[in-house]
């Protein structure tokens, strides 16, 4: 079994087989609108434009499951959202990524690569952990997606080779991508 056995729903509602990406290096990410916390769209876009000619794709899966639940105290969170216009990598339709209602692809990804904790050296690492412990302790159980911008790196054979938590910036993943290209 590999990611090629799964489908994703396009923005228009059509089913697209991930087998269409056979032979490419993929970064699969659950995304969210730019609302203060973990705004990683720009860096993902940069990765995409840097490596797309070498067979690299970013696949974004927007999810509202974490919407409106910004960690950190109110004065730390900017109270507005930036519209992610200008992103040219693939963004699929909105869907769930955690729990019973999660898309099968995400159940597979999280079963393949376990949660190994947040990077506490990242500025939001301790805040994210604290916010989850206080507000959503159940999110910390098991290997499900913990928050927006969890990233899975897929090699050219469709194997899941790595999982990066929201506390790993897209830029920091570049060396791992290069190794697979």
């Amino acid at each position: 079994m590999s990611v090629y056995d799964f489908t994703a729903t396009t923005k228009g509602g059509a089913e697209k087989s991930l087998a269409d990406y056979r032979g490419k290096v993929l970064l699969i990410v659950n995304t969210a609108s730019k609302c203060g916390f973990t705004p990683q769209f720009d860096e993902l876009q940069k990765l995409y434009t840097t490596y797309k000619d070498r067979g690299f794709e970013v696949l974004g899966f927007p999810c509202n499951q974490f919407a409106g639940q910004e960690p950190g105290s109110n004065d730390e969170v900017q109270q507005f959202c930036k519209f992610n216009y200008g992103v040219t990598f693939t963004v699929f339709g909105k869907g769930d990524v955690r729990g019973e209602t999660a898309q099968p692809l995400f159940k597979y990804l999280t079963a393949q690569k376990k949660f190994e904790g947040f990077d506490m050296n990242h500025p939001v690492g301790p805040k994210l952990l604290e916010a989850l412990q206080q507000n959503f302790p159940e999110y910390l159980e098991g290997d499900g997606i913990k928050w927006n911008f969890t990233k899975f790196l897929i090699d050219r054979n469709g194997e899941v080779v790595a999982r990066f938590e929201p506390t790993t910036t897209p830029a920091a993943i570049a060396p791992a991508i290069e190794k697979l290209l």
Binding site: A32, S33, A67, G68, E70, Q79, C81, K82, F83, Y85
Partner: protein, 77 residues
């Protein structure tokens, strides 16, 4: 008429709208994701695609969910 530039899935936009509703203020939603026209207007008003943007005259605006500034904006109308 108060206009709120916003898009779906933006929690701060929802907070602004709920606040206006609670104050009994009528407003028009301008969705910058669904409407090219609304997106162009928003960019013209604030110079960016950051929302919520609340405005009455299309010149003075409040960026974000800032109750105090929204109150001031409404009082100035």
């Amino acid at each position: 008429m108060v206009k709120v530039y916003s898009f779906e899935g933006c929690p701060w936009c929802t907070k602004v709208k709920n606040y206006l509703k609670a104050r009994g203020v009528e407003y028009e939603t301008r969705d910058i994701e669904l409407s090219d026209e609304a997106r162009a207007e928003c960019e013209k008003i604030s110079g960016d695609l950051t929302v919520p943007v609340t405005t009455i005259d299309g010149k003075n605006f409040v960026l974000g969910f800032d109750k105090r500034k929204i109150d001031e904006l409404l009082a100035s109308a």
